[in-house]
Symmetry: C2
Subunit: 151 residues, 2 copies
């Protein structure tokens, strides 16, 4: 497989593939001239990387999970730690979602007069709800077909 084939089959841009290779996350099996040649296993690795990223691991954390060239070596403890972390995020987001939902429908003339809203504000101010999470405008996300209408 050449790089364009990998791009086609994985959806990962060539620039990213080169970047991943440079970081040691994937490997090309050789070159044909200058051109990289990959074998099919790279697709599995890429899927694993995508999974790791989705779970919230950084590339540097993911690197060691990808075994040398056979099975991945994933530390189960790390997985459950991450699961706990996600669980915390979920609780935070849920609180936030419910708060927003309420605020959106609240009959108070101004949000500042809604006690629930003020309470939420207070919690955020003290950091009790947790730091914001950043999301990318990523293409994959748009692939899900949803694009917020505010530019």
């Amino acid at each position: 497989m050449d790089i364009s084939e990998v791009v086609k089959r994985s959806g990962v841009p060539a620039s990213t593939l080169r970047y991943y290779e440079e970081k040691g996350l994937i490997r090309s099996v050789g070159r044909r001239g200058l051109h990289r040649v990959f074998n099919g296993s790279v697709l599995e690795r890429l899927a694993l990387i995508a999974l790791g990223r989705t779970a919230g691991f950084s590339l540097d954390e993911i690197a060691p999970m990808l075994g040398k060239e056979g099975q991945p070596e994933i530390d189960r403890k790390m997985l459950s730690e991450k699961a706990d972390e996600l669980d915390k995020s979920i609780k935070q987001l849920t609180a936030m979602r419910d708060g927003l939902r309420h605020a959106a429908e609240c009959s108070a003339p101004s949000h500042m007069e809604c006690p629930k809203f003020r309470r939420l504000m207070g919690l955020a101010a003290v950091g009790a709800i947790g730091e914001p999470s950043r999301k990318k405008p990523g293409k994959k996300t748009q692939a899900l077909k949803k694009k917020s209408s505010l530019e």
Copy 2:
């Protein structure tokens, strides 16, 4: 109030306060010499900003929500859109968390042999689970360990 007082009462670093002022998110009521002077309402604004950030709004999105100098002007539609967005994230994270939890306990010798794990991988690869969200090691988050108050 001088800036150090605001720092003390809000927990927001002075550098951030200057940055927020520069971006038009907060205002100082004047100067004493060179030194900024704030009044108490800035604390409420900061709380509002924190809330917005936690909800996942960018500073640029938050700016217009903060009314000129009175009540905030928050578009309720925007709130419920954000709530929907959060809801989606929550579902994704939940799927992820459960998948990780399973993988952590799965008896398969290698994760690659666990069908659930492979399925999760496949979904992430296609972007069906959504993009990763970045989190900071934030000090605020560690400052407060009571998240039980969120229900």
